[in-house]
């Protein structure tokens, strides 16, 4: 090959590369949601394919997601056009870095969600995008052990414990599954379910006598829990493999079980305690970073994501429910039907005691969760004295609340200034 032909080959190669780079003018959707391959694929093929122009949907783990975003913000030059993440992800960000979305003419149906999305400022930091919750699910084989007189749709914690005990007696195996694994969402169970159900609070009542009772009950429940639960993070896997018969988890982390074997499992509301049936929503939002290269394109995509048809497509793809009023079609996947029913029963129950996501904690959200995880590990796994652990962890929690100045959120009674730990 002559030198000239080598050079011309190199030049043409470069030209092809440049042309390929120029052809990519997709809107970059940088998300922490719909990460599992199947969901990401469904987001592209079923949700974003209907949008007029091409969208590059890139789901990421929280670490790379935030690092990349921060890098673009610091560099002052971005490629990310639209952000999709959980309430907690946005709460940890600097409000100035997100564009005000109040003038888009779209918002969630729920005023609570819309005010959460302001993150304590006076503008829409993000738009509520989709919601989910945590529910219970059981293998139908476990139903025969249900205690007499117990209604699966109105269980109490005592009945749940009796049920798991009966299953253990009947099968010789501990069959309650709890997401206590590394990636499991155990802290949400304590914050949104156990504490509201026993203490009618989360922060104020953290170390109350009622909290001691709650942890005693949970210790009892743990004695009938599959000890391998400390490795469980997605209970759909254990439901399918039969390692767990009765489980608690995030709706989208149970979806696969219902979709693969819809006739084998039932979904039902979380149990109730002395102060009601505590439960907590999961809220994901859409935001635009101030470094978005094409603000108009970003806003158009956000508006598209909030259309009722898009929201229904998103529901089918991710098992996250719409936040705008929609007429749900009949052809929903089994998981959506099952979890939708359970959530409706849970929120419609006479003793419902809905909690809110922690708000106003800023980047201390992770530390807040840590308090609950540490408490769980010390009391349940370490077998330490409940009263002593709570009194000890209480000061950490109080420190977080004082440092952030976060006021109380439901079900805690409202506070002036930082929410006190009583």
């Amino acid at each position: 090959m002559t030198l000239r032909s080598k050079f011309s080959g190199m030049a043409s190669g470069l030209a092809i590369l440049c042309a390929a780079a120029a052809a990519q003018a997709e809107t970059l959707f940088w998300s922490t949601q719909a990460r599992p391959v199947e969901e990401a694929q469904a987001m592209r093929e079923q949700v974003l394919a209907g949008y007029g122009s091409a969208v590059d949907y890139q789901p990421n783990e929280d670490g790379p997601w935030l690092t990349r975003l921060q890098a673009e913000l610091q560099a002052g030059k971005g490629t990310i056009e639209v952000l999709g993440a959980l309430h907690g992800n946005f709460a940890a960000m600097n409000p100035d870095d997100l564009v005000d979305l109040g003038d888009l003419g779209v918002a969630a149906e729920s005023a609570t969600f819309n005010s959460l999305a302001m993150l304590g400022t006076d503008q829409m930091q993000y738009l509520p995008w989709m919601q989910a919750s945590y529910i219970m699910a059981a293998n139908k084989e476990a139903l025969q052990y249900l205690p007499e007189g117990a209604d699966i749709n109105a269980l109490t914690y005592d009945q749940l414990i009796a049920w798991t005990a009966a299953v253990e007696e009947g099968t010789g195996q501990k069959k309650f599954g709890f997401p206590a694994g590394e990636k499991g969402l155990k802290h949400r169970f304590f914050q949104g379910y156990l504490y509201p159900s026993y203490t009618d609070g989360v922060v104020r009542t953290f170390a109350s006598d009622a909290a001691v009772e709650a942890w005693e009950k949970f210790r009892e429940l743990w004695s009938h829990t599959n000890p391998a639960s400390t490795n469980f993070s997605f209970l759909q896997e254990q439901l399918l493999s039969g390692d767990a018969w009765i489980v608690f988890d995030h709706t989208s982390r149970l979806a696969q079980a219902f979709n693969e074997r819809p006739d084998d499992f039932v979904a039902f509301p979380a149990p109730a305690g002395p102060t009601g049936r505590g439960f907590m929503p999961v809220l994901a939002g859409l935001a635009i970073p101030k470094t978005a290269p094409d603000m108009e394109a970003s806003k158009a995509l956000v508006q598209y994501m909030m259309q009722p048809e898009t929201q229904i497509a998103t529901l089918k793809a991710t098992n996250f429910f719409p936040v705008v009023p929609v007429d749900l079609p009949d052809d929903l996947p089994p998981a959506v039907k099952a979890s939708g029913d359970a959530i409706a029963k849970m929120s419609g129950a006479a003793d419902a005691n809905p909690g809110l996501l922690p708000a106003g904690l800023g980047d201390m959200g992770g530390d807040f969760n840590r308090v609950f995880v540490d408490t769980f590990e010390r009391i349940i796994l370490g077998g330490q004295d409940i009263r002593a652990v709570l009194d000890d962890q209480k000061s950490t929690l109080a420190g977080i609340m004082e440092k952030t100045g976060a006021p109380c959120w439901a079900p805690d009674a409202p506070s002036e200034g930082a929410c006190p730990v009583e």
Partner: protein
């Protein structure tokens, strides 16, 4: 020597053979059994993957692999991975081998310190470095390019390249080079004519090491590339929460190219371990 002595010696030798065979079998199983299970589960239907006990013969259900065949961007990510890994290989040898030669042949002040410092690039976790790196890359335009990511991977691979080549050069007596000089070679030709041919398999081995390091790196790849994702960054983040059967299939897809590569260059790897030409 009595008869009993002979027979006990033979028995000892035989039991030694058994022990040797057993260790070999164990070591092979250590590597092969997980790979085999990966293969079986990749070629199984979701139901079988979730059941227990697992079958020992794959049922050749191509569903999981078909899913990835239709998954957008796989081939491009594979190409990016190869490009970045090859660039990393070239750059880490281009920088690492001369450094290794200098360490083994010359005395200079701060040599010990340099050998320590070269390891330091591995002392800081990438998540810590990724943010300032990404900011710099965005500003300089290196962001989202194969060469930019290869630079980062080269930094990670250099300590190994330096230390491996250092020990290789040290293994070649300086007398060989001196002899070449007396026979009319310059310092450079002595290197290319005498040292380089001896060391080539070792250099290839440390290049393979660089290749594997680049192939397996996730965090920097996930942060520093957007359009030009590598296969690991593209797949791994999404596999952690995928259903079990897709985890297996995705793992299989990640492992196979690396296996093929290692198999293709195994001769050089053996050379580094002193087992010549198998």
């Amino acid at each position: 020597m009595t008869a009993t002595d002979v027979s006990s010696g033979a028995a000892q030798r035989r039991s030694g053979h058994y022990l040797y065979a057993a260790s070999v079998a164990l070591l092979c199983a250590w590597v092969l059994v997980p790979l085999y299970f990966l293969l079986i589960n990749t070629l199984s239907s979701p139901d079988t993957v979730n059941s227990f006990p697992k079958p020992f013969i794959p049922e050749f259900d191509w569903g999981s692999l078909e899913f990835f065949a239709g998954y957008e961007g796989m081939l491009k990510a594979l190409k990016n991975s190869v490009v970045v890994a090859v660039l990393t290989m070239i750059m880490s040898i281009a920088v690492g081998a001369p450094a290794g030669y200098a360490l083994s042949r010359f005395e200079f002040r701060g040599k010990g310190l340099f050998r320590m410092l070269v390891l330091l690039t591995r002392a800081f976790p990438l998540p810590l470095l990724a943010l300032p790196l990404a900011v710099m890359f965005i500003r300089t335009g290196l962001d989202d390019t194969a060469i930019g990511l290869a630079l980062v991977h080269t930094t990670l691979a250099i300590p190994f390249a330096v230390l491996i080549t250092f020990s290789l050069f040290s293994g070649i007596p300086i007398e060989l080079e001196e002899a070449a000089w007396t026979l009319g070679c310059t310092r450079f030709t002595a290197f290319t004519k005498v040292v380089l041919p001896l060391i080539l398999p070792g250099i290839a081995a440390s290049a393979i090491f660089a290749f594997v390091i680049s192939w397996n790196e996730v965090f920097a790849a996930a942060v520093l590339t957007i359009e030009n994702r590598t296969l690991t960054a593209f797949l791994l983040a999404k596999l952690g929460e995928a259903p079990l059967h897709l985890k297996f299939a995705g793992g299989f897809i990640l492992v196979v190219p690396a296996l093929v590569f290692i198999f293709a260059v195994r001769k050089y790897l053996f050379a580094m371990w002193g087992i010549a030409n198998r």
